[in-house]
Symmetry: C2
Subunit: 443 residues, 2 copies
Amino acid sequence: MKQMSLGLSMRYHGYHVAAWRHPEYRPGCNLDFSSYRAIAQAAEAEKLDMIFFADGLAVRGVDRPEGAMSHDMRNAELEPLTLLAAIAGATRHIGLVATASTTYNEPYHIARKFASIDHISGGRAGWNVVTSWSDQEAQNFNKTANLPREERYARAAEFVDVTKGLWASWEEDAFVRNKETGEFYDPEKVHVLDHEGAFFKVRGPLNSAPTPQGHPVIVQAGASAQGRDIAARHADIVYTVAQTVEEARDFYADLKSRAAELGREEPPLIMPGITLYVGATQAEAQAKFDELQALIDPLAGLNILYNFVGDLSGYPLDGPVPQDLPHSNISIAKGLLQKAKDEDLTIRQLYETVAAGFTGRYMIGTPESIVDDMQLWFETGACDGFNICPPLLPQGMEDLSRFILPELRSRGLFRTDYPGTTLRETLGRKRPVFGAARTLAEA
Amino acid sequence: MKQMSLGLSMRYHGYHVAAWRHPEYRPGCNLDFSSYRAIAQAAEAEKLDMIFFADGLAVRGVDRPEGAMSHDMRNAELEPLTLLAAIAGATRHIGLVATASTTYNEPYHIARKFASIDHISGGRAGWNVVTSWSDQEAQNFNKTANLPREERYARAAEFVDVTKGLWASWEEDAFVRNKETGEFYDPEKVHVLDHEGAFFKVRGPLNSAPTPQGHPVIVQAGASAQGRDIAARHADIVYTVAQTVEEARDFYADLKSRAAELGREEPPLIMPGITLYVGATQAEAQAKFDELQALIDPLAGLNILYNFVGDLSGYPLDGPVPQDLPHSNISIAKGLLQKAKDEDLTIRQLYETVAAGFTGRYMIGTPESIVDDMQLWFETGACDGFNICPPLLPQGMEDLSRFILPELRSRGLFRTDYPGTTLRETLGRKRPVFGAARTLAEA
Ligand SMILES: Cc1cc2nc3c(=O)[nH]c(=O)nc-3n(C[C@H](O)[C@H](O)[C@H](O)COP(=O)(O)O)c2cc1C
Ligand SMILES: Cc1cc2nc3c(=O)[nH]c(=O)nc-3n(C[C@H](O)[C@H](O)[C@H](O)COP(=O)(O)O)c2cc1C
């Protein structure tokens, strides 16, 4: 029986915008490595496929409405690649995925760092490819505004090609290390890339050995046509945001057929984000939800919306969301306005929705009702698993252990042990093929 | 009584060019995290100040003489920042220093990653600032040749300013995390950099909290006037290469006076590299040395020299080193030619010298004779400690434990326990001062 993949998204120690105001949230835990380590080890004890860190390259908010920014906890975090490496050394089985932007990095660094984490972890690294979306990021990297989407994705496409080309620099058996002859590697088995493209000029080879997984797993998160194209071509996993099962099925079918058209043998696994409020009873779950929602500062709520649809502080909080807003260029913004319209939401309700699920989907329920829903999605072509974005950590992980995983397992929907040692094996995916014939063009 | 600082340089599992051919060298150990971890833990058990990783951003060699490159072990390593982070999670006291180039990085990434390692390690991170030296590195980063020294160092100076400015983004008490009022930070205590210079345009603030050390320790390695200038201005530690005590005293005096002229209260600590071949008797030490020297492949030997003084394969191996060679622009090259001249070395002897000490200084002796020498340097103004570059690891660390450290301790020259928890405390240095008044110009 096919089983689902589950990831735990660990950023900020909880995705709820008011997580840090929860009575049990320990101030500063988001800077405390031992706390991440404990959660990762708990996730590993439960055989989750992977932990995941989103990322941004700036204090991304702007102070709209005035005074709002200082109410936002998402300003000072650990850097995900160093954090992932530290967790790699303290775990043995769980996959380790972190986000890195193709817009504000160089392929050589990214290829090298993820390869290194793959070595350190014994084959558990994954790279979440994103193109970044805020002007604040651009302003930390010699620019004034974010690049237009076309250019970001053109760069991303070339970036991933170069990175995969660098990962193929050394054939699996290139290192002969012959103590007798003094030959350390076979020069026939190392490849120079000599890439020259619109964005990058990279000679190679990478100064890193082939990694335990062949190369790290590739994850993609970006919903536009351009994002889907990169996902279809390269991704092992696609993170998505979907509010309804229909929407998710459309995305799923679209992405699998794009991959098939490109002749990929193994299409990407599709993993929508979900935020769970779960209790032994519906009332218990609802109480968990209500407790956090009551802690949302209206300033913080308006501040989240600002990134997507601009400053709404001039409108009544309990009035309707205006539909003629000049929304931002990213797919999430359009989806939000649509949702506000479809569900007749007030401004407060809209930010409460976003705060509760951080642009993803949230559910409030018992183990049975939530797993019913997950099973429906999984078995009717809406997804291959879920990227779980808990409102609060470590509580969200404890809720998985206590409520969700036993129910999933009782239905045979989730594993009881790791099938192998690498993330690729956990995901049930084949090792990428390397060899003398593998050139950049084929990668 | 003043005590010396000691670092262990861990790259490649040994600096001797033939280390990998040693009968006890386990093939692939340089890709094995658990092996680095064990050595770092041994160094911590002995209360060393720090471990250190050099770095390069390319397979740096070129194939001269033909066929030589494949005899060089220095081609595929773990990436030092990820490796350091992984070791951070597995140690508690030892300082953690890694190299990052200012020529092929962006300050925002470097500020963030080292800050993150400082958090993860509880205040033990250090950044070794280098400007890189090979064309192969340039060719992996959109260029054809390395930048001229003036430009590299102009960029480095601005890079360090921006990085320190980013580290000062948040005042120590900026994060109020007031659950009652919803105020997460005090907006008066966060600073935007708004840097615009010749090389970088960086707005800030850094999305990272002030680190346990205030900011990570700064190390510098580069011997030219421009390199010394950056060291005098910013460094806590300077790595050097010195063959004689006179040379080392000159460097020491020069750097301390440059720092004094700049009004620095605490001048940098000077730590020359040394490679030790030590045994209970002189004969035992010599045997260790001879065993490794006998394993040097002439091709590998000529290949090391190539980077500094070009292809010498046309000259007789046992003939003199020609003095009219077009040597490379870096300080080490000049020093090597001088040494060859002063000591009347043959080509084979020159590469044997480099191989034995990897451009640093090496000693063959008993604990007494070696510690006599270290003490002389330490007590006569030649250094504040040593950066130990063992020919072979983990053996080099075992030799320190067994021979060198007991002797140093019996003379009161080295600590018996860590004085505090951070690297800064271990080094006996003050915490950098932050505050609203701290602007980029003052950093
Ligand atoms: C589920 C999901 C997760 C994302 N995570 C990140 C992230 O961690 N960091 C980031 O910079 N962008 C992230 N993005 C943004 C995208 O990578 C992309 O930059 C943005 O969505 C604009 O591209 P698009 O129009 O293709 O969606 C995420 C997007 C989605 C859909
Ligand atoms: C002791 C020492 C260690 C060095 N370590 C590195 C290193 O790990 N990586 C690197 O790229 N350069 C390293 N360098 C090179 C310098 O940073 C610098 O790029 C080069 O020496 C040229 O500059 P200079 O003329 O100032 O010496 C080192 C130099 C010295 C003296």
